[in-house]
């Protein structure tokens, strides 16, 4: 479906901008900004492809990823002061990005005949590991580990995909159900400040 490819590129663009913004806040030079934009945008898919032995890996097999990322860096360079007020637009793009990356990751996993549960993990790896690598390279504790429902939204979307796929719904329904699930859960989580529980205390014991 070409609309998925278009959304893949939009997600890549959005992720690259988010990486470029983080790197420029850290006063990285132009090269550092490009690297961080790059790993944020394609890091998840790259890790997925290395783990499932899918060569050529994403950005080696399709140069459009690189062009999209370079365009995103130029865009950030030109319009940085305009992007900050657009944080809601960025948030929407980022959310579309993780939704589409989750879908594509699971589809690729199933195409490689992985167990559905492993394919589900690959969907989440595709969606969230780019951000984790970005945070490791900028010497931050990965945001994802503490953030409102984020990977969990991908998880739920992935489960919806597996179910709709299992029951043989049309490709379009699978696509919409998956992407909408991720987006709706993410929006609700941010709107209502939902968080996953932490292991501060255990069920029988006291706070440590």
């Amino acid at each position: 479906m070409t609309i998925i490819y278009a959304l893949d590129i939009i997600g890549t663009f959005a992720f690259a901008i988010s990486g470029a913004l983080v790197a420029s806040k850290k006063e990285f030079d132009l090269f550092g900004v490009i690297i961080i934009a790059f790993v944020t945008a394609v890091g998840g898919g790259m890790l997925r492809d290395v783990l499932i032995n899918a060569h050529p890996i994403n950005w080696i097999g399709d140069l459009n990823y690189i062009w999209t990322i370079l365009a995103a860096v130029v865009f950030t360079f030109l319009f940085k002061s305009k992007i900050a007020p657009l944080s809601k637009t960025m948030f929407l793009f980022d959310t579309i990005g993780i939704a589409v990356f989750t879908l594509l990751g699971i589809q690729k996993g199933l195409a490689f005949e992985l167990h559905p549960f492993v394919a589900l993990v690959m969907g989440m790896v595709s969606a969230v590991m780019g951000g984790v690598v970005r945070d490791v390279l900028t010497n931050e504790v990965p945001l994802i580990f503490k953030k409102e429902i984020y990977a969990s939204a991908c998880l739920m979307g992935g489960i919806v995909y597996l179910v709709t796929n299992h029951f043989g719904l049309s490709e379009w329904l699978q696509f919409f159900a998956t992407v909408l699930t991720v987006i709706i859960i993410r929006l609700l989580a941010v709107r209502f400040h939902l968080q996953l529980p932490k292991i501060k205390d255990d069920i029988f014991g006291k706070t440590t």
Copy 2:
């Protein structure tokens, strides 16, 4: 040998708990805890398999790793306040873990016809890199680089394996000699606070 598989699962369980404890100390949410438990437990073997091109890699080829890790996270969630006083038990499990992971890593390396010295490195990678990835993701300087004899215990155990294997001892003898070497060296090191030297000063020069 099914006892090795059982010990592999025990080691995975112990490593996953140690990862979950570190992550919960950092106030990661449930998803973050699972990720850290996961990379601690299978990160070493995963890196080994990617480096030697052994696909499907460990946790993709055998779902029992994932189930074991999820069970360890649930276990940690339920009994966190009970585990802390069990640090000696945890230490023992961890030590069994590195011993078995060293053995399995070397065996796999030799099965892939690597040079024995490279196989030895793969044994150490299997045993210690999960903890390194855990520390990187939680933004700590990897403990292993400063700790009492730890990787060195794996190194010695690995050498024992190569020697007993070279001289054609029975599989059981190879297994016991390797695992016991790692465990004994690790126990002695902790008991007597043994440490590797640091390069503070050189042999001819003065302290810098």
Copy 3:
């Protein structure tokens, strides 16, 4: 060309020493020093080989890398107080290292029939990612992201290689033009404190 192999080994030696020095400053023990020297020296080529599926990867296929790195650690251990005053020599070795690693990375990429632009990226990955992994493992923000022209020197050298290769110049001319470009740009950058621009403000907006 055996001179390239010799320079590869010299570059490996220089990178390993730079890693060992960083690790010993952090008070890592001997094992930690070896690991950091190792990833600094072969990390870039290792990542390149995993990404382009070139097995056996660099240090698995040629044990000379490991021996060179161990020799460099012993050398650092013996002569640490003598090396510090040699920072200019070390800088020269390091610069030769990135020049040769860039060349070898692109050549390998082209040999694997990658798009020239992807091969160029592989040249840079080979040259700089070892240092990035070193900085991540020692819990520092990677130097490269803020440093004077460094990766950019590799980029320019890589472009010179692609152009001279495209026009069918002799191997020796390709080699000299590439390596000299990297070295000269790097020397000029350090001499005149050249830096890449940062995205502090955008072209139309104000400083944020």
